[in-house]
């Protein structure tokens, strides 16, 4: 059992929890993730580790309530437990002093980008951050990222904060300035990572993305998380989750992510109906 110490609502339907998991906290490195299960009948889902606290023995996870499991996770209160939590999984990010790097984060992906940029900053990189969200109140981790960035740019779809438009537009403007950029990290919705990778390819700047396919075990035992990198099939959980964005077959991944769309909707509907029923019968 893994106790939830702290829970904060960062944005509508986006929550942060701090969970007691001392073994994972000791080991976790930027870029790694955990797999968790919220109930005896629950499914296993992967979530990126956003931060660790060695003193408290805890890890921080940020998630958006999109499906049944994340909804149930969001309902857990401080002091309650997650029944299964395993990790840290996946390979850590490659952290070196590259020179100047750009981190592009979208949606909840910003929380996953944070530990990577923090480590890159500590290694002495000049860090340029570009964060994007639907609108102002959806932008998370702004202060945390600001603290470790040398330059910070914000973009919202509706223009309620920063540039009105996409992070890719902002990135393009920066790249066109011609400054030497050694590496780019893009973490966010798959479609964003695809757009960013396509954008940076002609500039010849290595672009790292963190993929989020459907997983079961997270240890290389099912192949459900397989992706095509170049012309090779790789398992995201043991070979990734970070890959060279210029080699990823994003279209295949986008299709595979929809595999259980109908089932996910059904589970969600039943959950909501169940709740209405509970409220009605009170």
């Amino acid at each position: 059992m893994y106790k939830i110490f702290k829970k904060i609502e960062l944005a509508p339907e986006v929550k942060l929890i701090e969970v007691y998991a001392p073994l994972i906290a000791q080991k976790a490195k930027p870029g790694q993730f955990v797999i968790l299960r919220v109930s005896e009948k629950g499914e296993r889902i992967p979530l990126t580790i956003a931060d660790t606290n060695l003193f408290k023995g805890s890890i921080t996870i940020v998630f958006q309530e999109v499906g049944k499991t994340t909804k149930l996770l969001g309902k857990l209160k401080e002091g309650e437990n997650i029944i299964d939590l395993v990790g840290p999984l996946g390979n850590p990010s490659e952290i070196e002093n590259f020179g100047t790097i750009i981190g592009v984060g979208g949606g909840v992906g910003i929380a996953a980008l944070y530990p990577i940029l923090k480590a890159l900053k500590e290694k002495g990189n000049y860090v340029i951050s570009i964060l994007g969200a639907r609108s102002k109140n959806y932008l998370i981790f702004r202060n945390e990222i600001e603290r470790i960035s040398d330059e910070l740019y914000l973009a919202t779809d509706d223009g309620s904060l920063g540039y009105k438009g996409f992070v890719s537009d902002v990135l393009k403007n920066i790249l066109d300035l011609g400054k030497k950029i050694s590496r780019i990290w893009a973490v966010g919705p798959t479609i964003m990572m695809k757009v960013i990778s396509e954008l940076t390819k002609p500039y010849g700047i290595k672009t790292i993305v963190s993929l989020n396919p459907i997983m079961v075990d997270g240890t290389g035992m099912c192949g459900g998380c397989r992706v095509t990198i170049g012309n090779k099939t790789m398992f995201t959980c043991v070979d990734g989750p970070e890959f060279d964005g210029h080699l990823v077959n994003f279209d295949e991944l986008l299709l595979r992510l929809k595999t259980y769309k109908e089932e996910e909707q059904l589970a969600l509907k039943l959950l909501e109906e169940g709740e209405e029923f509970k409220i009605a019968s009170k």
Binding site: L23, I24, K27, R37, S39, K41, G42, E43, R44, K68, T69, I83, D84, L85, V86, G87, P88, L89, V216, D217, T219, G220, M221, C222, G223, G224, R226, V227, T228, T233, F235, V238, E252, L255, R256, K258, T259, Y260, E263, E264, L266, A267, L270
Partner: protein
């Protein structure tokens, strides 16, 4: 007295009924049938059957005890050698092991040793275990990595010898392939759970959700434990590496079976893990795993299930009994065909497979006749779900994170077969991680060998 030439038949669920449920296919002997079968045993002095048993169960002795209706003594006798008898009684390939060497084979069918083993094991499960009293004889601690049959057996034996044993398991539930791979209708999960409880009752502690190579490394374990046993199995699925393999609807057998068995996707939406079942399903492969996958998907509502295999039935590695069961249930065998590519629709879902017909040539290194492609024999076979069951290889996590541990080019750990010793000091290994996919009982045998060597090393410095 004349010996019956045939085994006493085991009652089974009718194929027409059983394809609609996940209940066990073979129902097991009652005491009357068991006594009748036990009568057939000749109590051979040289007991050739024992030599066929990878853990050397004293077979004539336990059968004699059944004959004398001393059922609790019979199970005790088995448990001296086998910690998981309700499991091995069900899933061991007895026809190539103990029963293959049975004297009765000279005149007819061998004694149904597996069925008798299962009978006394189930009886004990119903009544509750007799737990042997164990004293902690020393303060040495052993870490066991993986809770499949190899790890459970090694841990159980070491606990009986008086050691403190901790098992580390990556999944949220212990049991290895027994829990995530072999389907309910061949090995009910409540039996696996009961056998795991028995191992725990011997004093073994099991820590789930710990991935060695990630949460801890083997080197870190060696700082806290006097010895380490690695029994992580061969769980990484192989794919065909042909075009279209990542289309939606194509599963590895491991993913399919894990979703269904471990995550209970067959009870979706009561359980949260989904699975998508096709109407026409192709299962690629000819082993036990292919049969299990085919029979499972049939029970989940597939209309037509085809086994697609490169050779003929004779070369199939699956147990004969499983092939018969699959056929009885209506699985269609498409033999001498080899997959060339998968074809998808605009949504990225598989809608057909291109197959090439094969013929058999000379025997290859495995002794089986080699399949040879027939030119211009390709054809398109429409289907909407594929399960790839062409084998598994060891998980690379430990290899990537452990110093001084030698691996073969197949990714298996190099050991000294007599002792289970690896090339790394105080580290032992056994089961599928050493042999590649094999059997439950051979994994258990390997766990036993390592347990004995660990005892010799830690107590006698040998």
């Amino acid at each position: 007295m004349l010996v019956n030439k045939k085994k006493t038949p085991i009652p089974e669920q009718d194929p027409k009924e059983r394809i609609k449920n996940f209940d066990e296919v073979a129902l097991g002997y009652d005491s009357e049938l068991a006594l009748k079968e036990a009568e057939r045993c000749l109590q051979c002095k040289d007991a050739p059957c024992i030599k066929g048993c990878p853990v050397n169960i004293n077979i004539p002795e336990f059968i004699r005890l059944i004959k004398e209706k001393k059922f609790d003594l019979a199970i005790k006798k088995i448990k001296e050698a086998d910690n998981l008898p309700a499991t091995t009684g069900r899933v061991c390939p007895q026809e190539t092991q103990c029963e293959a060497l049975c004297t009765l084979k000279k005149i007819g069918e061998p004694v149904a040793i597996g069925r008798l083993e299962r009978f006394v094991a189930d009886l004990e499960l119903q009544k509750g275990f007799d737990i042997p009293k164990i004293k902690r004889k020393n303060d040495k601690r052993i870490a066991v990595v993986g809770s499949g049959p190899a790890g459970l057996t090694c841990a159980g034996d070491l606990a009986r010898m008086g050691f403190e044993v901790h098992i580390f398991e990556a999944f949220h539930e212990p049991g290895g392939v027994l829990i995530y791979g072999i389907p309910e209708f061949r090995l009910p999960k409540k039996i696996v759970k009961a056998e795991v409880e028995y191992i725990k009752s011997l004093g073994v502690k099991i820590f789930t959700n710990v991935v060695i190579g990630r949460t801890y490394t083997v080197d870190e374990l060696l700082k806290e434990y006097d010895a380490v046993f690695i029994g992580t199995g061969a769980g990484t699925p192989q794919f065909l590496n042909i075009p279209g393999e990542n289309l939606i609807g194509i599963y590895s057998a491991n993913e399919f079976l894990t979703r269904v068995n471990l995550m209970k996707a067959y009870k979706f939406p009561e359980y949260d893990t989904p699975i998508k079942i096709g109407k026409i399903v192709g299962v690629i492969g000819g082993g036990n795993v292919a049969m299990d996958a085919a029979r499972t998907v049939l029970r989940l509502g597939a209309e037509e299930v085809h086994i697609l295999y490169r050779r003929t039935e004779e070369e199939m590695p699956a147990r004969y009994e499983e092939i018969i069961h699959a056929k009885e249930e209506g699985i269609i065998f498409d033999l001498l065909v080899s997959p060339i590519r998968f074809i998808g629709d605009e949504k990225g879902k598989v809608k057909a497979i291109e197959l090439q017909r094969m013929t058999l040539g000379e025997p290859d290194s495995s002794g089986r006749r080699r399949p040879i492609p027939i030119p211009e024999s390709n054809y398109i076979f429409p289907l909407d779900m594929v399960i790839v069951a062409i084998g598994t290889v060891p998980n690379p996590l430990i290899a990537r994170t452990t110093k001084d541990l030698a691996f073969t080019k197949h990714g298996t750990i190099v050991i000294d077969e007599k002792t289970g010793k690896t090339t790394k000091d105080r580290v032992f290994a056994g089961g599928d991680i050493v042999t590649g996919s094999a059997t439950v009982i051979s994994a258990m045998g390997a766990g036993k060998i390592s347990a004995r060597s660990i005892e010799l090393l830690l107590n006698h410095n040998l």
